[in-house]
């Protein structure tokens, strides 16, 4: 089954390119220790999901590119075309000239209705080229105007028009400081709208990815390209094919459906985070060896302590024994130090993957009580290595990991809203204070729901 990707705004398009490039590069990579036949099945499965064939044999990404100004799309198209390995469809993009001015209201209320028909037509054309549609993957940022506002609008229209298909939004959470001043407003408006119309929100924080670049990848002068490539690597690790059942010889057919089924048991809880191990620069990779026990131990602790990367994991945090308070941390209120999960998915790729022991992830203490661990935890795997990493593990989790950033975001936006600063910029395009209040209410609910999780 295929996934149609919608890339929105500068961020969405820049990242989208890196994602398709990472996916394609991986299919051309040396397959490690799996057989030629297995590798071919892997390549075919990846291609079916993300690419389609064109006349001269160059694979075409199953993607629609949307932006309200032309420069980024032009660059993205030419970068893909120049590589000669894959490209975007000739007529797969929609572009305007005036931008969205970092204004959510402009993206949602002006651009949305005005260009609805053109954009939905483009998406329809891409959908028609799929034999079978798994769903939509929408890549957007929250801080700006196009990705955020127009992205929210398009997601809503997708819900209306393709009600039986799934939608996963890849959301970029902006740096806490120094991107866009009104980013907190744009973010709460985006999140609240997507919470109603999307099926799952896969969230990447710029601050977290930046730290990975600095500490794990040892990059000195970090550029947006670096951030995007780390992100693309993580996404590739999640979306590349894996076997459907233990001992099965077929690759999973419905990646989005499977992800939703395992990770989003309840519509009140749809925020997902990704962690990836190992993640390091190529130079070091050649000198490193990893064992599955080592990798999984670190990954588990990253989950429990809410760490977003290997470096600096807090090993003090332990899951609570049932009935007893967490080790050394007695508190009346829910202690967010320990990260309670609703559901987790571990994806293992590479050498000796069948020997990997994931029992540690099935510990009931990790999870909230309303699901049996056997339902809360799943594992997918393939012996086919991913992108030069002999062994790699990804963890997609629906947990309390994002509560703190969300709480801070809502707090800052609320502070600004209390002073009414910048509100006139939104109301001039048809929004009202009520719309803001609705968004705040919804997100406070989400914060409270996640915050109250406990074993």
């Amino acid at each position: 089954m295929s996934i149609v990707t919608v890339q929105l705004g500068q961020c969405g398009n820049q990242i989208g390119f890196e994602v398709f490039d990472a996916l394609f590069r991986d299919t051309q990579c040396s397959p490690g220790l799996c057989s030629k036949r297995e590798n071919e099945a892997y390549q075919a499965s990846c291609k079916e999901r993300f690419f389609r064939e064109e006349e001269n044999g160059v694979p075409v990404a199953r993607a629609v590119l949307v932006d309200m100004e032309p420069k980024v799309i032009n660059q993205t198209l030419s970068k893909a075309g120049q590589s000669g390995r894959w490209k975007y469809g000739q007529h797969a993009c929609f572009c305007q000239r005036q931008g969205s001015g970092n204004n959510w209201a402009y993206g949602y209320s002006v651009h949305g209705p005005k260009h609805e028909e053109s954009i939905m037509n483009l998406i329809q054309k891409e959908v028609e080229k799929c034999d079978s549609l798994s769903g939509f993957f929408i890549i957007m940022s929250m801080a700006g105007g196009t990705g955020s506002g127009l992205g929210a609008f398009v997601t809503q229209k997708l819900q209306d028009q393709y009600s039986s298909s799934l939608k996963m939004n890849q959301i970029i959470w902006p740096y806490r400081t120094g991107e866009v001043i009104v980013q907190n407003y744009n973010s709460i408006l985006t999140l609240s709208h997507l919470y109603r119309s999307s099926d799952a929100l896969l969230i990447h924080e710029n601050d977290a990815v930046h730290k990975i670049c600095a500490k794990q990848m040892n990059i000195k002068q970090i550029s947006f390209r670096d951030l995007n490539q780390v992100l693309a690597h993580q996404l590739g690790n999640v979306f590349q094919p894996t076997y459907s059942e233990d001992g099965s010889s077929h690759y999973r057919r419905d990646p989005l459906g499977d992800l939703m089924e395992h990770l989003v048991p309840h519509p009140e809880f749809k925020m997902l985070g990704v962690r990836n191990i190992p993640q390091m620069s190529e130079n070091f990779l050649a000198y490193s060896t990893f064992t599955w026990p080592g990798l999984l131990k670190h990954l588990r602790q990253m989950l429990i302590s809410g760490a977003k990367m290997e470096e600096g994991i807090d090993w003090q945090v332990r899951p609570p024994f049932s009935g007893l308070p967490p080790l050394g941390k007695m508190s009346v209120h829910k202690d967010l130090h320990f990260n309670t999960s609703i559901a987790n998915l571990v994806i293992l790729r590479g050498k000796d993957v069948q020997s990997a022991d994931v029992e540690g992830f099935k510990d009931p203490a990790l999870y909230t009580s309303w699901l049996e661990p056997v339902h809360a935890f799943s594992m997918w795997k393939t012996p086919r290595a991913f992108d030069k990493y002999e062994k790699s593990a990804a963890l997609v989790s629906n947990s309390q990991l994002l509560v703190k950033p969300l709480d801070m975001l809502v707090g800052k936006a609320w502070n600004m809203f209390a002073s009414k600063a910048y509100i006139h910029q939104y109301t001039r395009f048809g929004m009202e204070e009520e719309d803001f209040l609705d968004s705040f209410t919804l997100l406070e609910q989400v914060v409270a729901s996640y915050g109250s999780l406990g074993p």
């Binding site: 500068q10 820049q14 100004e69 420069k71 980024v72 660059q75 305007q96 000239r97 005036q98 931008g99 001015g101 970092n102 204004n103 105007g145 740096y175 806490r176 400081t177 120094g178 991107e179 866009v180 001043i181 009104v182 930046h210 670049c213 600095a214 990059i219 002068q221 970090i222 550029s223 947006f224 390209r225 951030l227 809502v410 707090g411 800052k412 609320w414 502070n415 600004m416 209390a418 002073s419 009414k420 600063a421 910048y422 006139h424 910029q425 705040f440 209410t441 406070e444 609910q445 409270a448 729901s449 109250s452």
Partner: protein, 415 residues
Amino acid sequence: MCAHTCACKHAVLIDMEEGVVNEILQGPLRDVFDSKQLITDISGSGNNWAVGHKVFGSLYQEQILEKLRKSAEHCDCLQCFFIIHSMGGGTGSGLGTFLLKVLEDEFPEVYRFVTAVYPSNEDDVITSPYNSMLAMKELNEHADCVLPIDNQSLFDIISKIDLVVNSGKLGTTVKPKSLVTSNVGTVTKRHKKPFDAMNNIVANLLLSLTSSARFEGSLNMDLNEISMNLVPFPQLHYLVSSLTPLYTLADVNIPPRRLDQMFSDAFSKDHQLIQADPRHSLYLACALIVRGNVQISDLRRNIERLKPALQFVSWNQEGWKTSLCSVPPVGHSHSLLALANNTCVKPTFMELRERFMRLYKKKAHLHHYLQVDGMEESAFAEAVSSLSALIQEYNELDATKSMPVPDVPRLSVAM
């Protein structure tokens, strides 16, 4: 000016006396400007805002509108107007602000950016306080964004450069192309007039402002984003600008100016285009427009470094807007334009009010204005009142400076 297509063909030049415009038309840029896009008269406005605004305003309104509509038609997408004029004279100030109203009525969706040159203390036009005050009211009400500039600051920048260029110190040879006052990359090779160098600084400001619209980068910024991020309340739209670097050293043995130094300089008074003290006042918002080989990590590192010394208003503690354009200006490897919405503009406005009151109390030269058809004395009172209200807004914000950040109770939800 149309931000997305060729700029010059869309310029409209207006002056009520012919000397300056004629010179432009006979100069090397004569082919760049469309001669049909000029409006001139003969006698000038006599340094009288009322003449510029009321007399020439009504006289030329139709013509101006016609030329604007024509220019607008040629644009794929009209995003904003750049209006450039002085505050102290008659035409720029009077007719310029009249034009502002016309643009608002005719093209309400298009942003109006004004680069206004405020009179210095030693300026020689006696009526400049009147003209400036009357123009301020119009800017308050009809401009989306104003970049105030004063000649004194521009002059100080030139003096600073001259000091370095002429100091003869070893290793201080400056690359001539890199001067912020330089017009290399432009057509005119030599500075013929004393204001040319100063005006080039302003030209460079506008180039930086539009760089993201003209070139690619990893974090683009359109002009409408400036207004969106830097104007939290409609009246508070005055932005202090500072440009760096002012020059590049030619001696290759001296290590290139460290990138971080550039960021520090942007927050130094020596680089500002208006006399003001943002460091000791309150920031409402700040934009950093970076050009050249600078990455997001450089930007973030410097924001973290400089933040502690700056005071931001409580509801915008992290009020930074940033953009990265890959292409640096001619002669530099990188450059930075900082735009600050800061209460430090208040003293400028207070001084303006004071100079105005000195004249107005004695009714000096008032008759020149009142004898213009349509000009009432109430216009003066309204203008003062408008400026006073603006100053009061800045006062109220300043009062919050040393107060602790208020704790705004959050919405509580039923669980």
